[in-house]
Amino acid sequence: MAVLNEEQEMLRDMAREWATNESPVTEFRKVRASGEPEAFDRDAYSAMAEMGWAGIIIPEEHGGSDFGFMSVGLVVEELGKTLTASPLIATTLAASAIMLGGSDEQKAKWLPKLASGEAIATLAIDEGPHHDPQAIEASVSGGKLTGTKAFVAEAHGADLFVVAAKDGLYLVEKGDGVTLTTRRLTDQRSHADIAFDGAAADKLANGGDDLLDKVLDRARVLTAAEMLGMAQIVFDTTLAYLKQRVQFNQVLSSFQALQHRMADLFADLAQMRSAVEAGLQAVDSGAGVSRAAIVAKAEANRVLHTMSNEGIQLHGGIGMTDEYDIGLYLKRARVLEAAWGTRSYLKNRFATLGGY
């Protein structure tokens, strides 16, 4: 665990307490059972926004607290532990795009609303089932955006989209020329394909040529933070189960074969945590962000993949039941592994950045 300052510790403790008490996995199950494509609880998100979480990275002048990515990462990790469904990550990432590339006017228009929870926003980048920011076809002419975006997370709840077009990022409000088609994935969260048909688009013109890359770095890091919370809880739950389940007149945790498996996972999790925290810190310090973001997400992918499989395996039959939570983490894990780059994609990009 990274060394936190006092504010960060308070924030983390508050998030942990809230997630545990107000948003345990049973809350996600309610959302899932409702079948609503929006797939989150508006009241819960309002409560989160009231606690200031939607504005953690947003400057104070625009209604946020300017605590940075490490801080929002702590909150996101806690929410990941209980599978809390919310547009917090999506909105934070959209806010970061506006902060990095928006005009004063755009910032003043959107950041306060995002910080207060009054508006929800999300990124709409990829156009197919694979992360491939090089393959963007959406285009803008005369301030109108046309193109399609695939599997956009939190699209149903969003009022605002940060859309990648060939020549940069644009703000597009939900409304005329924006049509959603729901995509139900294994995680049962909000995903949609979006057709933009001459939708009014407002360019984020101040970010420079690498604005999209910078936003993707942040997306990778914050997604990895959610994955960290998931991996941690799968680990904790599995360990507790092995210490309690008796077979052959002894607790399973007394079998050396299983002790070694848990020891391996413990070491993996340590690596994942360091990688994710380094990613969050890199965003805050501004040094070596792209590389750190790749390491964070690639390690998160690797470890959560293994952890989600091992979690089920080590629980035995009970891990295969819907009633038990562990399978929900597996079904969310694969969606997040695919988001913003699989391990293969990230390895390739890592090598490219390294010049080899």
Partner: protein
């Protein structure tokens, strides 16, 4: 080792092949071509179409759904060579074996070995005809890997047993007609107190509660027995022999579960999927060299697994006993199956993670459910960890450190 067939043997093989072709031409309904629907207790209630029923009956009448089982109990009475020809011809015609499930895979072979003459006469023919579904009453809440810890009690009441207790994870319990169960007839000895009992699922006092799985379906149940009367004729073997018989059955189960059985891996290859969902070069090779490498790596290991499975069969036959390498098949095959499912969804990207909706093809959606269900293959039928214990202790002679 391949042996050259003798001339007359080749002739008789040709004659048999001709017979199979004729049978398929006569009996296999064209509309079922390429659709495999076998009677498998784990897949759901049966809603057979007329054509499916006709095909099942035709195969059942010949005994060809259970080709190597003895003719006198309704099996096909074929030798291995003939059974292989039958499989080849079915595959070639796009036909399938409609007779399957736990009765065929596990219970039948065990009963043929341990059952009384009356029991075989009663239970084997309906399995061969695909008329009766069996489920497996082994696991209990506190008897999973430690199966011998089972507590379901069968009390001797003179002409019948009175059964009380709970089984769990009973695959297809809600659709099964009968259950082969291992139960306790003696509390004083963990292993020797176990007996093998056949229980009608519609007996008074049997209650099943389906459990939903992570894949969203409910293929297994909790099964409760409350004062269930089971006639003494339904004891297989002797009282106290249940552990031996029950373990023999698990051997059949494991062989079948490894995925090495013919038809164990139907559908598109990883390469086909990668071509469909990804980019290819002018010459038809995959554009992504890393993916190409990984698929080839997988296929090489899968091929060597199939070789291993075949060698295990050949060695067992030659030695007249189970080959040592058989013990590794289940863990190898199931792991490869899981790896393949993971790669499939990775190749498809988010299109390969659909839960529902008509913007996913049926094949895509089935793939997702199969990926999730497939996580069970390394748990049931003796988990990978338990297989490893067996290999280490019984095959390699590595003793417990205690």
């Amino acid at each position: 080792m391949a042996t050259q067939l003798e001339p007359e043997a080749r002739d008789s093989a040709d004659v048999f092949r001709e017979e199979v072709r004729q049978f398929i031409a006569d009996k296999f309904p064209e509309e079922l071509k390429g659709k495999s629907v076998s009677l498998s207790a784990t897949e759901g209630p049966i809603k057979e179409t007329d054509a499916q029923k006709a095909w099942r009956e035709a195969m059942g009448e010949r005994g060809w759904g259970t080709p190597t089982w003895p003719k006198e109990y309704g099996g096909g009475g074929l030798n291995r060579k003939q059974a292989a020809i039958l499989n080849e011809e079915l595959a070639r015609a796009g036909a399938y074996n409609p007779i399957g499930g736990m009765g065929v895979m596990m219970f039948g072979p065990t009963l043929l070995e341990y059952g009384s003459e009356e029991q075989k006469q009663e239970h084997i023919p309906p399995i061969c005809r695909g008329e009766i579904r069996w489920c497996q009453g082994y696991s209990e809440p506190n008897a999973g890997s430690d199966l011998a810890n089972l507590q379901t009690m069968a009390e001797d009441k003179g002409d019948h047993y009175l059964v009380n207790g709970q089984k769990t994870w009973t695959s297809g319990g809600q659709w099964a007609d009968k259950c082969f169960a291992i139960v306790r007839t003696d509390r004083s000895d963990k292993h020797k107190g176990i007996s093998f009992l056949l229980i009608d699922m519609d007996s008074p006092g049997v209650e099943v509660r389906p459990i939903t799985m992570i894949s969203g379906t409910s293929p297994f149940c909790e099964t409760f027995f409350t004062d269930v009367k089971v006639p003494k004729e339904n004891l297989v073997g002797e009282e106290g022999q249940g552990w031996t018989i029950g373990k023999r059955l698990l051997q059949h189960e494991r062989t079948n579960l490894s995925g090495a059985a013919p038809g164990g891996r139907a559908g598109a290859s990883l390469a086909d999927i990668a071509k469909k969902y990804g980019r290819t070069n002018q010459d038809g090779t995959l554009a992504d060299p890393v993916l190409r490498d990984r698929i080839a790596d997988f296929e090489i290991r899968w091929t060597s697994f199939l070789h291993t499975a075949r060698r295990a069969v050949e060695e067992s036959k030659a030695q007249g006993g189970v080959s040592e390498i058989s013990s590794a098949l289940k863990k190898l095959g199931t792991k490869l199956g899981q790896e393949r499912a993971e790669m499939t969804i990775e190749i498809m990207g988010l299109q390969g993670l659909g839960w529902e909706g008509d913007n996913f093809s049926p094949v895509e959606l089935q793939g997702v459910r199969a990926w999730l269900y497939g996580k069970a293959t390394t748990i049931y039928g003796g988990s990978t960890e338990i297989q490893n214990n067996v290999i280490a202790k019984r095959v390699l002679g590595m003793l417990d450190h205690q």
